[in-house]
C-alpha cells in the first residue's frame, strides 16, 4: 500500500488504486479459500441444481397451467385464486394435516422426553437401548413400516386381537374415517427416536449438583423436574418442537401407503402433501400442485416464525 502512495501524482487515480487493492484482496482471498470452495463444490452444485433451481422453477410454474406434456401456459394468479376460493379438497387436506400436527407433535415430544429421562438414569447397556429406541425413527419413513402398521391396525390385526383378549371389540382402525388419522398419529409418536436422542443430550447438560442441592433442600422429584429439568431443557424442547412441526407438515409416506394413495376413507387421511401429489401426478396439474406447494411453504414459515417469536417468553438460555 505504501508503495502505491509514493508513485507520482496523476499516474494512478484513486479509483484505479482502490480497484487494484480490491483485486489483490480478492486474489488473496481466493488463493486462501480455493480448496475450501473446491470441497464445497458438490454441495454448491447440489444446492443450486437440486434445491434452489427447482424451487424457483416451481415458483414460476405455480403461475402457469402445466400438464407436463405440453409447455406451461401463464395464468397469473388463477391457481392461487382457486385454492383460496373454490377448492374444498384444499380445506379438507388442510384440516387433516393440522389435526395431525396438533396431535402428533405434543404426544411425540412428551413420549420422547419420558423415554429420554428413563434412559438418562445411568442404565447398564445404555447405547443398546438408545439404538433400539432409535430404530423406529430410522425405519419410520419407509414403506415397509407403513405396511406393517396397516397390518397391525387392520380390523383383524394384532391390535384388535389384543383388545379381544380383554373383551373389547375394536373397530377397523385404518378403514374408518373417525379413527384412521389417529392410527397415523400413533405411528408418528412411535417414531420418537430422533427427538429422544436430542433430549438425552440435553438432559446430560444439566449439572448434577443442582439436583443434589435441591434434594438436600427437600424438593420432591416432581418439583425437581418442574423447577430444574424443564426450564433448563427449554432450548432443546424448542428446537425439537420446531423440527417436528415442520416434519409433521411434510408427512407423506404413511398416508400414501395406508390409504393406497387415495387419502380415504372419505378424505380422512388426505394429507396436504398427498393431495399435492395427487394433483401433480394423478391429475397432471403440475402448475396447480406447485401453487399448493408454495402455500405450504408459507404456512410452515408462519408457524416457524410464530414459534421463534413466542420463544422469547418461554425459552431460557442461561449459561
Amino acid at each position: 500500500m505504501s508503495n502505491a502512495m509514493r508513485t507520482p501524482a496523476g499516474a494512478i487515480t484513486v479509483e484505479r488504486y482502490q480497484g487494484a487493492v480490491a483485486e489483490g484482496r480478492f486474489r488473496r482471498l481466493w488463493n486462501a479459500n480455493a480448496p475450501g470452495y473446491l470441497f464445497l463444490l458438490p454441495w454448491l452444485i447440489g444446492f443450486f441444481g437440486l434445491t434452489l433451481g427447482p424451487a424457483l422453477i416451481s415458483l414460476y410454474l405455480s403461475f402457469t397451467d402445466f400438464d407436463m406434456l405440453q409447455s406451461p401456459r401463464w395464468v397469473g394468479m388463477a391457481n392461487y385464486v382457486r385454492i383460496a376460493t373454490a377448492d374444498p379438497k384444499f380445506s379438507a387436506a388442510m384440516h387433516v394435516t393440522l389435526t395431525y400436527v396438533v396431535f402428533s407433535v405434543p404426544f411425540k415430544l412428551t413420549f420422547a422426553l419420558l423415554v429420554a429421562m428413563a434412559l438418562n438414569r445411568g442404565l447398564r447397556g445404555l447405547p443398546i437401548y438408545r439404538a433400539i429406541f432409535y430404530l423406529p425413527s430410522l425405519l419410520g419413513g419407509s414403506v415397509a413400516i407403513a405396511v406393517l402398521w396397516r397390518q397391525l391396525f387392520a380390523s383383524d390385526g394384532l391390535v384388535n386381537a389384543a383388545l379381544a383378549q380383554i373383551g373389547i371389540e375394536g373397530p377397523s382402525w385404518i378403514s374408518h374415517p373417525n379413527y384412521s388419522i389417529y392410527t397415523l398419529v400413533a405411528l408418528s409418536v412411535w417414531q420418537f427416536g430422533s427427538p429422544m436422542i436430542i433430549f438425552l443430550a440435553g438432559l446430560r447438560q444439566i449439572p448434577q449438583d443442582m439436583y443434589e442441592a435441591a434434594s438436600l433442600d427437600g424438593a420432591s422429584k416432581f418439583r425437581q423436574f418442574y423447577k430444574i429439568t424443564l426450564p433448563l431443557l427449554t432450548p432443546v424442547i424448542f428446537f425439537n418442537a420446531v423440527v417436528q412441526t415442520i416434519e409433521a407438515f411434510k408427512a407423506f409416506t404413511p398416508a400414501f401407503i395406508i390409504s393406497g394413495g387415495t387419502g380415504g376413507p372419505i378424505n380422512s387421511t388426505l394429507f396436504y402433501t398427498l393431495y399435492l401429489y395427487q394433483e401433480a401426478f394423478g391429475n397432471f396439474r403440475m402448475g396447480y400442485a406447485s401453487a399448493l406447494a408454495w402455500i405450504l411453504v408459507v404456512i410452515i414459515a408462519i408457524f416457524t416464525a410464530f414459534s421463534f417469536l413466542s420463544s422469547r417468553y418461554w425459552v431460557h438460555y442461561d449459561d
Binding site: D67, M68, L69, Q70, A154, S155, D156, P171, S172, I174, S175, H176, P177, S259, G260, G261, T262, G264, P265, I266, N267, A280, F281, G282, N283, F284
Partner: protein, 428 residues
C-alpha cells in the same frame, strides 16, 4: 504434480483413441436401442422380457431394455419422462389415459404403418377403434378383457347357496348375499363386496339403463336420479347384510391383494377377467368368474370387451419403425403370443387366439370362456373417458364411502356426485 506426455506417446494414444471411437460409432450405427416401459407385476415382466429376448435373437443388432413399475408409480414416472423429453420408445398405455397423451402430442400415430409393417387385419374392428383418437391409431391393443364378478364357489357351497347364472338380477344376487352372511359358515365373511364405489360396476349398471358415464364429447352422461338410485340400491344391500359394511369395504385399495374376496371378507367381489389367474393364485378356495348382474331379467348390453392395455410408440422416439416392428411381433408372432399367454387379456388377433387357446391351462380357460361367452350381455365399447375421468372415479368412491358411513343420504350423494363430476369435467 504435472503430467508429461511425450510426443510419441501422444501420437500413439491419439491413434488408439481414434480407432476406438471409430469402433464405437460403427457399433452404435448398427445397433438400434429400444426402451420399453410397462406396469405390472413380476410374472408379467418375466413374460415380456422373454418376448424381448426372442425378438433380439431374430433381429440381431437390436437391443431392448425393459422397465416395469406398479400401476400407482407408473403414471408419475411416465409423465415425468415425457416432460423431460426422455420417454421410452414403447409405452404401455391404458384406455383411461390414451386420449390425454394422444391429444397432447406425446404419442406417434401408427395408421401409416398398416398393413405392411403393422398387420392388424384379423383384429376386432372395435378394438382397433378403441386405440384410435381423432381418427389416428395411437395404441395397439394387447388383449381384451371385461369387468367380471369373482365368486368363491367353496363359500357359496358351504352356505348352501347356488351360484348366480347369466340370468340372475341384482335383487336376487342381494338375496343370495344375505343368505351367505346369515349362514355364517365363516367368521367375518359376508355375501358380497360393496360395489357402490366401483366405477366399472356403476358404468355397467348405467349402460343397462341406456345411459353411460361420459358422452363421446366428454360430458357427463347420467343424471341425479341414476346416481341416487345407485347409492340407494347399495344402501339397501348394506342394511340387509347382503354386502360388507363400509369399514370393511374401505380396506379395498382397488387391487387384487386387498379385494374383499382375497381378504376372505366376501364370497363375491368385483374385478376384471384378465386378473382371474392372479385371484386364483391368491385364494385356496376354488373361484369362478361370472358377469355383473342384470338390473331386470330382460336387460342387456352392460358389458363390453375392453382393450386391457395398449402398446403405444412415443412421438419423441428416434426409432419409430423399429418400435412398430416390435409391437407387431408382440401381437402377431405365435411364439411370442404363447409366451405371453392371456396374462394381458385375450389376444385380439383371431389367429393368435387359436394359438393360445390350444395351450391354455384351466385358469386361462376360465378367463377365455368368460370373455367369449358374454353373449347378449356384451355391448359396444364406450368412447375413451375424458381427461378428469380419474378424478371422477375417486369421487364416485369418496361419496360411496360417505353414504356407506352414514354421513350422506343416497339422494344427497347422487346430487353431489353429479355436481362434482360436472365441475371436474369443466376444469379438464
Amino acid at each position: 504434480m504435472t503430467l508429461r506426455v511425450s510426443r510419441r506417446n501422444f501420437v500413439a494414444g491419439s491413434a488408439a483413441l481414434l480407432s476406438l471411437s471409430a469402433l464405437g460409432t460403427s457399433a452404435l450405427a448398427q445397433e438400434t436401442r429400444l426402451r420399453l416401459l410397462w406396469w405390472g407385476s413380476q410374472p408379467r415382466a418375466d413374460r415380456t422380457n422373454k418376448v424381448s429376448q426372442l425378438y433380439q435373437s431374430k433381429n440381431p443388432g437390436t437391443s431392448i431394455t425393459g422397465e416395469f413399475l406398479g400401476w400407482g408409480d407408473y403414471w408419475p414416472r411416465l409423465a415425468t419422462q415425457v416432460a423431460g423429453r426422455n420417454a421410452p420408445d414403447v409405452i404401455q398405455m391404458d384406455y383411461r389415459y390414451i386420449v390425454q397423451y394422444a391429444r397432447r402430442g406425446a404419442l406417434a400415430p401408427l395408421e401409416s404403418y398398416m398393413p405392411a409393417k403393422l398387420n392388424l387385419d384379423d383384429f376386432d374392428k372395435a378394438q382397433i377403434e378403441g386405440g384410435s383418437v381423432d381418427g389416428h391409431l395411437y395404441g395397439v391393443s394387447l388383449g381384451a378383457n371385461s369387468a367380471a364378478t369373482v365368486l368363491n364357489t367353496t363359500a357359496f357351497k358351504e352356505a348352501g347357496v347356488d351360484l348366480p347364472t347369466q340370468a340372475t338380477t341384482w335383487d336376487e344376487f342381494a338375496r343370495m348375499g344375505a343368505e351367505i352372511t346369515k349362514a355364517g359358515k365363516r367368521k367375518g365373511m359376508f355375501g358380497l363386496a360393496d360395489g357402490s364405489g366401483g366405477e366399472p360396476l356403476f358404468e355397467n349398471w348405467l349402460r343397462q339403463r341406456g345411459k353411460a358415464l361420459y358422452t363421446a364429447d366428454g360430458k357427463i352422461a347420467f343424471d341425479v336420479d341414476d346416481a341416487s338410485e345407485w347409492y340407494d340400491m347399495w344402501a339397501k344391500f348394506r342394511a340387509a347384510g347382503a354386502c360388507v359394511p363400509a369399514d370393511i369395504q374401505a380396506l379395498d385399495k382397488n387391487d387384487i391383494e386387498t379385494n374383499t374376496v382375497s381378504l376372505g371378507k366376501a364370497a363375491a367381489g368385483f374385478a376384471h377377467s384378465n386378473q382371474f389367474v392372479a385371484y386364483q393364485a391368491m385364494n385356496k378356495d376354488k373361484l369362478a368368474l361370472t358377469n355383473y348382474m342384470r338390473i331386470k331379467p330382460d336387460s342387456k348390453g352392460g358389458h363390453y370387451r375392453k382393450p386391457s392395455m395398449f402398446f403405444s410408440v412415443s412421438a419423441q422416439s428416434k426409432s419409430i419403425d423399429q418400435a412398430v416392428d416390435y409391437i407387431n411381433f408382440f401381437v402377431k408372432n405365435p411364439e411370442a403370443v404363447l409366451l405371453l399367454d392371456v396374462e394381458r387379456g385375450i389376444p385380439e388377433s383371431a389367429a393368435m387366439r387359436e394359438v393360445v387357446a390350444a395351450k391354455l391351462d384351466d385358469n386361462g380357460k376360465v378367463a377365455l370362456a368368460y370373455v367369449s361367452g358374454l353373449g347378449d350381455l356384451a355391448g359396444k365399447l364406450p368412447p375413451p373417458p375424458p381427461a378428469g375421468a380419474g378424478e371422477g372415479e375417486l369421487m364416485l368412491r369418496n361419496i360411496a364411502e360417505q353414504v356407506g358411513f352414514g354421513q350422506l343420504s343416497p339422494s344427497d350423494g347422487g346430487k353431489q356426485l353429479v355436481t362434482e363430476i360436472t365441475q371436474i369435467l369443466a376444469r379438464g
